[in-house]
Symmetry: C2
Subunit: 240 residues, 2 copies
Amino acid sequence: MLKHFRSYATLDSDDETLLASLEKSPKKVCADTVVCREHDAAKAFYTVMSGWLFSYRELEDGTRQVLDIYVPGDVIGLREFAFSNRLTTVMALTDAEICEFPKSRMAEEFAHSVLLSNLFFAIATREQAVLLERLVNLGRRSAPQKLAHLTLEMFSRLRRTNPYPENQFKMPLPQHVLSDALGLSAVHVSRTFTELKQEGLLFRDGSTILIPDLEKLKEFAGFSPHYLEESVPRLPTLEA
Amino acid sequence: MLKHFRSYATLDSDDETLLASLEKSPKKVCADTVVCREHDAAKAFYTVMSGWLFSYRELEDGTRQVLDIYVPGDVIGLREFAFSNRLTTVMALTDAEICEFPKSRMAEEFAHSVLLSNLFFAIATREQAVLLERLVNLGRRSAPQKLAHLTLEMFSRLRRTNPYPENQFKMPLPQHVLSDALGLSAVHVSRTFTELKQEGLLFRDGSTILIPDLEKLKEFAGFSPHYLEESVPRLPTLEA
DNA sequence: AGCGTGCTATAACATAAGTTATGAACGGGC
DNA sequence: GCCCGTTCATAACTTATGTTATAGCACGCT
């Protein structure tokens, strides 16, 4: 599963076994449980085996900003590679399984395998591209566009690994989480969903999302999947 | 200068000479000149020797979102390490000097020096932390807070390398660039500056910024410099 | 069955920020 | 010295989104 995900980036030879070893000893976490907290020591990464999680920061005034949404195949905490403490709190949205992987071991692997360290660099870089796109989303799009865009992002990311039906999927994000991800109020997210429904662009029933016309929605949201789909060149640093 | 900047992260031995070689052949660019364009082939990084630059994306509807602001010592384009095309357009704000550095050469260096590749990973990671903080800024803060926060970010980043007086500095960002960075309208940025002035929190005259009470402004903006100051542990991957 | 709790929808109202317009100040080119 | 463009300030008005409140519905618990 994790390997599957990885295959999008580079084809490995005997690093494969190494990657596979990341998937030992999965740990179960229940929905609404905190996995790690802001300012904690950041000694490990996690890879997501199953379930959804998200990370956020809480502000002084009690509001919060959701920063990432993690689905199976994602790596949690790569961001804190060079930081000794966590920058965000991570919480499970659903019951989930994750594999812990100590930074120190990662260090060994990197020393052994240039390829692997490049791969992780590439993943980190792709994460940045996602953040960039979200910055655009928060800064310059209307509420309906924001909502549509985030939905399309999640859909695209899921479809990379799971061949979903092409107009429907499950997105277990309650509206208050969406609102904290998009910088909106929960009420306005609700309003916006009904607006999108009336336009016939997007239907939501609980956690199932239905998109009657994918192209139309993409155009509406200004969604272009370059930043996700761009096939990371195999072994980027050694080309040329 | 670049070396100076680097010293914040890790102390190198003979990689120093290597880094120094990045600074050969600086190229001059004039204010308001495009350095590279979205979708161009991304074959090189740049390091900033002098001057200010910024990167942005243009949306379908003609608006744009500014994504980074670069000052001397910054690395441009690290983000595109794993992408074959640029994700953003980069433009000079002032006359500037930058050094081009081909990706392919970087690849060689990485293969030779684990330390160097870790260093770049660390820089990329710190960039992410900055993006995260900006996400919070765009999502969950009021216009005056946004403006104050961005100003404080730039001030902190400049002070890392240049010992500025503690309450005054130059920030050559016209209001329409600030507005595109913060997701506001240019008019509202103007209004917000006068509001901050009336509160006595922040004074701006052209490009010079004056902050009478740094602590007060930080509290107002919800600015905590962890994400910038955290001393990246020397040789992070080999600790432990 | 009865009860609380969490999620969602909707309405009425309040406010921050966008839009359009105007004029002042400044600087560069000729 | 004059014209032009850019930047900035300010005003009047519009609009998107936030806030508070209420109610329905599903679910789990006792």
